[in-house]
Symmetry: C2
Subunit: 352 residues, 2 copies
DNA sequence: TTGTATGCGTTATCAG
DNA sequence: CTGATAACGCATACAA
């Protein structure tokens, strides 16, 4: 016994009408008499008729679904973005198909091929950190597939993009540490091969300079695995605290680096902010839950998802080719928690 | 310029063959000559042909996609389950469509209707806590839609189910606290309207009894919002610690209750395990990262996803109706961290 | 071994 | 106002 749905044919047969009449009645066409319409609509309601989206897709050559590719849905930032995407997509009658690259460019390509074999109308993508070859994206884009990049964008491809104001977020976070009296501020950042890495590092440096501090390369640690590998973070911390002039605060430039720092500091028996200042990018509720005194830079993840989807739907539904591609930059938000504890800290003299 | 894919027609025209010949060649039919096959396959490869899954779905009356409904993908447990689902589904050529109920039974119903309007071949579901009316599930099931429930299962519907061994997980966790010397062990648990709540509470009680302790209702706190609402947890903690005979340890019976307990304890200035013993269900990496000394009960989330998917594919692909529905129970796992700190704790005399 | 015709569910076009 | 027919891309029973 297979799951069988009701079709237009069933209605037509039951009512002694043709399928075209039923179809038109259901779509409320002007050329159908009110009586017939009423008859059809009532019967359709009664037997719980729903048009078959697959047949519609075949006919209309569009699936009314959009594909999303992110590295991990288990990452709070991305799950929040996805919620934003869903919200816009669903109100516009679109279905969302989520797939994960798990930071593997091979898996990314496989997903991409699956999604694009004519089954999605457009794509929203945050590329994997591993990806260096953007040819497939480019080819797809050149062949007319609407694509919107967000977060980890591909500079070389001309299409809509949505990012957070990474420079300002990093600048503000660093400034907050400076204003709280910290004198030697280190940063943990991702590879600068990604634009998000570049921008955040630039914001950190600019904040230091604007407050009369010279960036010190010894205080800048690049974490290749972006906080996913514990040993790497432990080593970075070891190096920082082995310096003759160690840092008194840390700016973590990404979600996983913030939680990774917390873990590594905890493993060294250090508390925040008693032993060291810490601020970082984070969209995880848990950093808030478990560390009520930790201030973070939050990305407007939900809004970024909404924005990306609006732009994508514009691309999908525009009749003529779009040429004026936009890059939307959304503001980050500083969540200052128990800020008095940081702010009452007096300028340190012992270290400077 | 719209995104246009290559079709069988294009190949047929280019090679001067009929569409059926091309179709058969592509499917490696025995009735096509090796030369023709080679010709077709090479050309198809060259122009990057991929069959249109929508047309296939219409023809075969199956979409080769399965629907998943969970409350939140932002929950580690569920994202791990989804990874397990994807892994099995993809290797079997199935696509996974994820949708979230956000613990709303209305949203759950909407998603269900969307997914089932002939676009998925089967469903994997963990019901929302809010859901009390299972009629739509039942109707769907009766009409032949393959469904597998996991985690939050619906007892009333006869189909495959996958759950963790909640009783044993709770029993082991409580026993671990007892063996570590704790004498008054409280529990925070979800509503017992869900089977997972019932089973975990029963495991907790059984462990106490088996070790000569009588369950004390004053030490059992039901959290209706399952840890999602901070105030509720704070109140539960207040009540527990206002008792004349307060607990010296807590068993948190769900993911969100574990992280919620940590937050609430932290807010009271209490540390684990220095001030109070704590163990709980948790699949979040962050509980590990931020609290290296916290032992947890981990559900085999990935494996549960795999198991559910295997069962679903069996249902989908079986020719005749299935009658012997199974309930697979997977073992939970205790992750004992820095266990020496708990185990060296001597039996308490001050409180007993 | 290959080609022709049909149908999956729907809508658009053309007749009536 | 309503009905017949073709088409979307593909697979297959049937014909050659």
């Amino acid at each position: 016994m297979k799951f069988e749905a009701v079709t237009i044919k069933d209605i037509a047969k039951a009512l002694g009408l043709s399928t075209s009449t039923v179809s038109r009645a259901l779509r409320d066409s002007y050329e159908i008499s009110p009586e017939t319409k009423k008859l059809v609509l009532e019967y359709a309601e009664k037997i719980n008729y729903h048009p078959n989206p697959i047949a519609l897709s075949l006919k209309e050559r569009r699936s009314r679904s959009i594909g999303v590719i992110v590295c991990e849905i288990a990452n709070s930032y991305f799950s929040q973005v996805i919620n934003g995407i869903e919200s816009i997509a669903n109100t516009n009658g679109y279905n969302v198909i989520i797939s994960q690259s798990h930071e593997s460019s091979v898996k990314e390509l496989v997903n991409l091929q699956y999604l694009t074999s004519r089954s999605v109308d457009g794509l929203i993508i945050s590329v994997s950190t591993e990806t260096t070859d953007f040819n497939f994206f480019r080819e797809l884009h050149d062949r007319g597939m609407p694509i919107v990049f967000f977060d980890r964008i591909v500079d070389e491809i001309q299409t809509h993009k949505v990012i957070a104001d990474n420079f300002k977020g990093a600048y503000d976070a660093t400034t907050h540490l400076i204003n709280s009296g910290y004198k030697r501020i280190a940063t943990l950042c991702n590879t600068v091969f990604l634009s998000i890495g570049k921008e955040r590092l630039a914001g950190y440096k600019a904040a230091l300079k604007d407050h009369g501090m010279e960036p010190d390369d010894a205080l800048i640690r690049y974490c290749q695995h972006g906080g996913m590998v514990a040993a790497e973070m432990d080593q970075a911390m070891n190096e920082l605290f082995s310096l003759t002039n160690p840092p008194d605060a840390i700016f973590a430039a990404a979600d996983k680096l913030t939680t990774g720092s917390l873990r590594a500091l905890c493993a060294r028996g250090m508390s925040v902010p008693e032993d060291i200042g810490l601020i970082g990018f984070s969209n995880s509720e848990l950093t808030e839950l478990l560390n009520p005194s930790l201030s973070v830079v939050r990305q407007p993840a939900f809004e970024m998802g909404e924005e990306a989807t609006s732009l994508l739907l514009e691309l999908i539904e525009s009749k003529r080719p779009v040429t004026d591609f936009q890059t939307r930059v959304l503001s980050t938000e500083m969540l200052l928690r128990s800020s008095t504890r940081l702010q009452k800290r007096s300028p340190k003299t012992s270290l400077s």
